[in-house]
């Protein structure tokens, strides 16, 4: 208990001291915005759970519990090590048991945004149970809900430890990058096909009175109730609701057993991963052959200043070798394809989402402009390379990545549909590039004022939050809306026959303004780079993860 108390204290101190007050407020505001953005999901889920328990009784509980658990697990795994507070390797030199670290991670993960979003559903189920069967039932269902959260948190930590073990080798991280992309598309297609098939099938059966609502609930409840980590808390809740204290007690004991059973393998996995170390590299043979290349290290032969060319080559190598950056190449194309299908095969829906995603991804990526440099960031200040050249190279790499994403997305969309290339698309594209250039200028400044490091494990990065960063992220959407409204207005004013020309002219002017802002920002941001060097070295070059 003493170790647990000390670790909690340490977590709290690290939280207080690792960010400024402003950034903590920004982080809280961001979480609040996230909660608000997803309010239809969690509020709707709570309403549905309440109505379900009131009308259909205990049969709805496994469904509510199952949906909460699966939502948390999938979000937790997709976001990598987001739910983990401590990495075990920081404690190897101290007499701290891995299971204590594991336990702290379980407890700390309960405060994440996703578990918070499941709370309304669990509270709604508890209230409905209380109204149906009295205070004792509400107490039992509430306790079962708490057990569900604990069991889910423990299960998530075991899965994250497993993910860490699997992704320990960089080659596995590359494979996972591809897998995630395939999984994402597959999930979308699979969900759509399954939903359509199941929905059609269910409607038909409903229409023919072959299946009732009660039967459908029972079917879903049986399916989710077969998952042991759902079944145990559900047994406790249904027992409490049905007035069967023995069942409730059995369910609670099963939850305790699941918790105990998760701690040991989870802690063992963490310990094994940490002691195994990380290879940190990919194919040596492939790199060896590249190293023997006869050309210059610099990229951009003669067009760019030498320093910028060399840094650009480094940045491109980094993109090819960092799973997180490699994965970012796939996001916009995948979103385009997915929204194309979700938009019932309309090309402009997919294209619009690709353009929005490109702007959004550049604004996010530019906030992490130096995040992957690690201790190497000192080199930018030790070597005779002009700060403007460093920023020019880093910005150009972002634009090259953007071009790659654009080509991937629109080649994919061109295969899926015809008629995607229209004057309106070119207009939108020009306006989008203007917004992207402005976002790049702003994001570059924020990346130096508020430097954050990328994680070395898993697939996700360790992000930071600041008012400026949040403003850049959300400002992109506001700018897109403003430019969109401007182009739309001018097209309307120009009237039929001239609307395409007018739109293209306005978009071109916007692009010119955006390009001028970006070009000027390179000089201004070069000064920021020099001014912020100490803060950047402090934040990016240190070896500790916390």
């Amino acid at each position: 208990m003493k170790t647990l108390r000390l670790l909690l204290w340490l977590r709290w101190k690290l939280f207080l001291r690792s960010t400024s007050t402003g950034n903590r407020i920004a982080g809280a505001a961001f979480t609040l915005l996230l909660l608000l953005a997803f309010s239809p999901v969690w509020f709707g889920g709570a309403m549905a759970a309440y109505a379900g328990v009131r009308h259909a009784g205990a049969a709805v509980i496994p469904i509510a519990f199952g949906v909460c658990q699966l939502a948390w697990l999938s979000m937790g795994i997709l976001s990598g090590a987001l739910g983990r507070s401590f990495d075990l390797d920081k404690f190897l030199r101290y007499p701290v048991r891995p299971r204590s670290v594991f336990a702290i991670n379980v407890l700390a993960s309960l405060l994440g945004p996703v578990p918070l979003m499941t709370l309304p559903t669990l509270v709604a189920v508890t209230i409905a149970a209380g109204q149906s069967a009295g205070f004792g039932a509400a107490l039992g269902v509430g306790a079962a809900g708490a057990c569900l959260l604990l069991v889910t948190a423990a299960l998530l930590q075991v899965l994250l430890a497993l993910l860490d073990e699997v992704l320990r080798r960089e080659s596995a991280r590359f494979a996972a990058t591809v897998f995630m992309a395939v999984f994402f598309v597959g999930l979308q297609f699979g969900t759509r096909i399954a939903t359509r098939y199941v929905a059609e099938h269910a409607v038909l059966r409903f229409a023919h009175h072959e299946i009732t609502g009660q039967q459908a609930i029972a079917l879903a409840g049986t399916f989710l109730g077969r998952i042991p980590t759902v079944a145990a808390p559900a047994l406790a809740a249904t027992g409490a609701l049905a007035g069967a204290p023995l069942s409730a007690l059995l369910g609670l004991l099963a939850c305790a057993a699941l918790l105990a059973a998760s701690v040991l393998p989870g802690a063992a996995l963490m310990r094994h991963t940490v002691r195994g170390g990380s290879d940190g590299g990919g194919s040596t043979r492939a790199r060896s052959s590249r190293d023997r290349g006869a050309g210059s290290f610099a990229f951009g032969g003669g067009v760019l200043p030498r320093g910028a060319g060399v840094v650009l080559r480094y940045e491109l190598l980094l993109t090819l070798r960092h799973p997180q950056r490699l994965m970012s190449l796939l996001v916009a194309p995948l979103v385009g394809v997915v929204f194309f299908f979700n938009g019932h095969g309309r090309a402009n829906v997919g294209a619009a989402f690709v353009l929005v995603m490109l702007a959004s991804s550049v604004s996010s990526a530019s906030l992490l402009l130096f995040a992957y440099d690690g201790p190497g960031v000192r080199s930018f200040f030790l070597l005779p390379v002009a700060p403007r050249d460093v920023l020019l190279a880093k910005n150009l790499e972002q634009l090259i990545r953007l071009l790659a994403q654009f080509l991937l997305a629109f080649i994919a969309l061109s295969f899926l549909t015809t008629g995607i290339w229209s004057p309106l698309l070119f207009t939108a594209l020009l306006a989008d590039v203007a917004i992207i250039l402005c976002a790049l200028a702003g994001g570059t400044a924020v990346s130096m004022r508020h430097p954050v490091r990328a994680r070395r494990r898993g697939l996700t990065g360790r992000g930071g939050s600041s008012w400026e960063g949040a403003a850049i992220s959300f400002g992109v959407f506001a700018a897109a809306a403003a430019v969109g409204a401007l182009v739309w207005g001018v097209r309307r004013l120009a009237g039929p026959g001239w609307e395409d020309v007018a739109g293209l002219v306005v978009a071109s002017v916007t692009l010119g303004v955006g390009a001028a802002i970006w070009w000027r920002s390179l000089d201004i941001n070069a000064g920021v780079l020099v001014d912020c060097r100490e803060k950047m070295i402090e934040a990016l070059a240190r070896t500790s993860e916390d």
């Binding site: 940190g280 290290f297 610099a298 440099d373 070597l383 060097r533």
Partner: protein, 264 residues
């Protein structure tokens, strides 16, 4: 009469209320092997960081080979090689790529950078790991690679912050010889910080001792070691004399540690 490779005048650097470097006036002769000594927190690394462009001075001036480190920083960086405390390596590049990256940024022709990269890697016994990413290097290998990076463009001044820390005895000996050759044959100025006084005593021609951000002793090794009445002191004696003698019994107040007894 040789000029000065490094000069500072009233150099000061503060971090909030704390003064790390306090009106430091320093002169390092060209072609000298200069040992910059001081206890932990004395301001050694801060001074090196200012001289190499990693930190901005709060006040005062500093120049390297006559170039101001603030207003002519690129000119300074073209002429110096640095092994900073904590190193400055990109984990995702291989050893060869890293050296080519640094070499070409320093203005070497691609072919020259490639050739020197290969030679340096072989000389530092890193040839077998040349194609491996830096993230897989041990601490000693990283140190050797950092030293290679600092040498690839044939600098006129080398700033080495604890260069022998974490390196095995064989590599230490090899690097020591290499540095001595650079100073003797190529007249390179080496500005070195180290806590190992024996190494400094063996290598350095000049020594500066800093304590509390202020220079408390400076001169040639022979001048500083000369005691009263023609006696000669060891560098350790000199260091303790200038920085402050041990504070009596180190274990005073730690009776539970010094004496046998039950532990908690």
């Amino acid at each position: 009469m040789p000029g000065y490779a490094v000069e500072t005048q009233d150099l000061t650097r503060t971090f909030g209320a704390q003064t790390a470097v306090d009106h430091l006036t320093l002169r390092v002769p060209e072609g000298s092997f200069y040992g910059f000594l001081g206890p932990n927190g004395a301001g050694k690394s801060t001074t090196i960081n200012i001289l190499t462009g990693l930190l901005a001075p709060t006040s005062g001036r500093a120049s390297v080979l006559g170039y101001d480190v603030v207003s002519q920083d690129l000119e300074v960086k073209r002429r110096i090689g640095v092994v900073p405390d904590g190193l400055a390596l990109f984990d995702r590049l291989t050893g060869t790529e890293h050296l080519r990256f640094v070499g070409e940024i320093q203005g070497l022709a691609p072919a020259v950078a490639r050739q020197r990269a290969g030679e340096l890697l072989e000389a530092m016994d890193l040839g077998a790991s040349a194609a491996k990413p830096v993230s897989g290097y041990s601490h000693g290998m990283r140190k050797k690679l950092a030293l290679s990076c600092s040498l690839i463009h044939d600098p006129r001044v080398l700033f080495l912050d604890e260069p022998f820390e974490g390196i095995d005895a064989i590599a230490t000996s090899e690097i020591r010889e290499l540095l001595q050759r650079l100073v003797e044959r190529r007249k390179v100025t080496v500005f070195l910080t180290s806590h190992v006084l024996e190494v400094v005593e063996r290598l350095c021609t000049h020594v500066g001792i800093i304590a509390g951000g202020r220079l408390v002793a400076e001169g040639t090794l022979d001048e500083l070691r000369a005691g009263p009445g023609g006696t000669t002191r060891t560098l350790e004696e000199l260091f303790l004399d200038k920085v402050g003698a041990p504070r009596g019994d180190a274990s005073a107040g730690l009776g539970w540690l010094a004496e046998g007894g039950t532990s908690a």
